[in-house]
């Protein structure tokens, strides 16, 4: 179980300061938790706070009863936090096999790599020795990123917009991937997404806007409001929506 207690994050520049996250308190214990909300609402920042990439200005992060607020990225990863980037990173020289091996934390054979890669619709034979460089498309990188999280199999997996850049065929498979992943690791999967189809499988939906939790609850509680209303927007935008 992941608990966020009064998390705030402020960015200070000489000219002004901006609060990106405002006193967020949440518990994540469900199978699938979807985080949604408008662009710039603080979703990715929150994911980075959980992974340890961003240190919150105030607040505590508790993983299974243990305070992990002061742990760095590596220590949190070792405690069982995985994070799939919205924009996967390219590496000159490192191959798909290298990354999957590092993710699995042990040497793996082709058949094991095949298990992970086939889940995301890639043939291990074609990909295992390819460099994770500019020769791979954005969609391919995205799938490899997800395969790494599957290979890790940790108790908390955070995905930042996993569907972005993935074609429609893969999209329906993506949902199966999450379902299978949950069966295997029996942990929590947190997905930042705008896609209704992903929100549809969520046990809990959290709406983040303006750095605050606007709504949090079961799918049935949150989804109808989300689809009906556009929230508070200015009159010009409201006219166009």
């Amino acid at each position: 179980m992941l608990e966020l207690k009064n998390i705030s994050f402020e960015v200070n520049t000489p000219e002004h300061s901006k609060e990106i996250l405002k006193d967020i308190s949440l518990t994540i214990n469900e199978r699938f938790v979807a985080i949604t909300g408008p662009n710039g609402g603080g979703k990715s920042t929150l994911a980075k706070v959980i992974a340890g990439i961003i240190k919150p200005t105030t607040g505590r992060i508790i993983l299974d009863g243990e305070d992990i607020t002061d742990l760095d990225i590596t220590q949190r990863a070792q405690k069982g936090v995985s994070f799939a980037f919205q924009q996967p990173v390219r590496f000159k020289g490192l191959t798909v096999r290298d990354l999957i091996t590092l993710a699995a934390g042990k040497p793996i054979g082709v058949s094991e790599a095949c298990d992970y890669l086939s889940e995301v619709g890639l043939c291990a034979k074609d990909y295992i020795n390819r460099e994770v460089n500019a020769s791979l498309s954005g969609g391919e990188l995205k799938r490899i990123e997800i395969a790494m999280i599957i290979a890790r199999g940790t108790k908390l997996s955070v995905f930042d917009e996993p569907e972005a850049g993935i074609d429609l065929w893969s999209f329906s498979n993506l949902i199966q991937v999450f379902e299978k992943m949950h069966e295997k690791i029996n942990g929590s999967i947190m997905i930042i997404s705008h896609q209704e189809r992903i929100l549809n499988i969520a046990d809990k939906i959290i709406v983040l806007a303006g750095g605050q939790v606007q709504a949090a609850g079961t799918r049935d509680e949150v989804l109808p409001h989300l689809l009906a209303g556009t929230g508070s927007v200015c009159s010009v935008l409201a006219d166009k929506l």
Binding site: I73, S82, F83, F85, V89, G93, A103
Partner: protein
């Protein structure tokens, strides 16, 4: 061979024992072992220190190893080796120099290699540089390669220098005839106060000749690297040169690619990039459970692989 020489041999030639096929092992300025085959002859030069390696036309799938080992502090030598590779050959040449310097005097090996590659021959040339030893003595290597590629021939040069060598200036020049191809892959990692300079000059003289010079390097600590690559297109030809360097700590890297077209049908490209390890690369590997240092090692090793 003692343990030190064995280690050096393993590092520069990936050999655990004396190799199969033709070889010449030079240890501390002396010829330590030699083997010739029916197709590959090795003879001492008469006027200069060094050897001539003569490979008969049509020799296929044979290899020559010519490692140089230095474990004596203060030894300085210049060695001239000439390779005569006959027409239609397909051979692998493994050269390399290992210096173990525990003393406080400079040990230096300067090898001048000339390659005369016959028509339609294929050569793979592998060169590794390695040095260790905890003395204050400098470990210096200045290799020079001169390559002449005859019509339709093909040469692939792979040079590697990972740590250990205090100072190196590598000079390579090549002249290519019609339809000849040269591919150079260089890998360098420097650390501490080391200095490495490489200087390539390729003359694409023949019609349909092509060259690809690729350098990947990592400069750590206060080390310095300089990369010069000159490709002259003198005919209908294609040339590409690329330098990609990772800079770390307080290192300095200079990359100067230079392409000159002397023919309207020459097609030449140069690329050079220097940059530090991207923060997001480190972060990604750290989210997989690696420490920052482990992540850095993985990125550097992958880059130089």
């Amino acid at each position: 061979m003692d343990t030190i020489e064995r280690t050096l041999l393993e590092q520069v030639a990936e050999l655990h024992e004396v190799p199969e096929g033709a070889y010449n092992i030079r240890a501390n300025g002396q010829s330590a072992a030699r083997n010739t085959t029916a197709n590959i002859d090795i003879v001492n030069k008469k006027d200069l220190p060094g050897i001539d390696i003569i490979i008969k036309p049509g020799t296929k799938n044979e290899s020559v190893h010519i490692p140089v080992l230095i474990s004596q502090t203060g030894l300085k030598e210049v060695v001239y080796n000439d390779f005569f590779i006959g027409e239609d050959c397909d051979v692998t040449i493994v050269a390399g120099c290992g210096i173990h310097n525990c003393g406080d005097q400079t040990s230096q090996h300067d090898g001048v290699h000339r390659f005369f590659v016959g028509r339609n021959a294929r050569v793979k040339y592998v060169e590794r540089h390695y040095a260790d030893g905890d003395g204050n003595g400098q470990r210096v290597m200045n290799p020079e390669s001169v390559v002449e590629l005859d019509e339709g021939s093909y040469m692939e040069m792979e040079t590697t220098q990972i740590k250990g060598v205090d100072s190196t200036a590598r000079k390579t020049s090549a002249k290519l005839a019609d339809k000849a191809t040269l591919i150079v892959r260089e890998k360098i990692m420097t650390h501490g106060q080391q200095f490495a300079k490489t200087d390539f000059t390729v003359d694409l003289n023949g019609e349909g000749s092509s060259a690809n010079v690729i350098s990947r390097s990592v400069a750590k600590d206060q080390s310095r690297q300089e990369f010069f690559s000159r490709i002259n297109g003198n005919n209908a030809c294609s040339g590409h040169t690329e330098c990609d360097a990772i800079i770390m700590d307080q290192a300095h890297v200079t990359a100067v690619p230079e392409i000159t077209a002397n023919s309207i049908d020459a097609s030449l490209i140069h690329e050079a990039a220097i940059g530090k390890i991207a923060g997001e690369q480190l972060i990604k590997l750290m989210t997989l459970g690696l420490t920052e240092q482990e992540a850095e090692e993985q990125i550097v090793n992958g880059f130089l692989k």
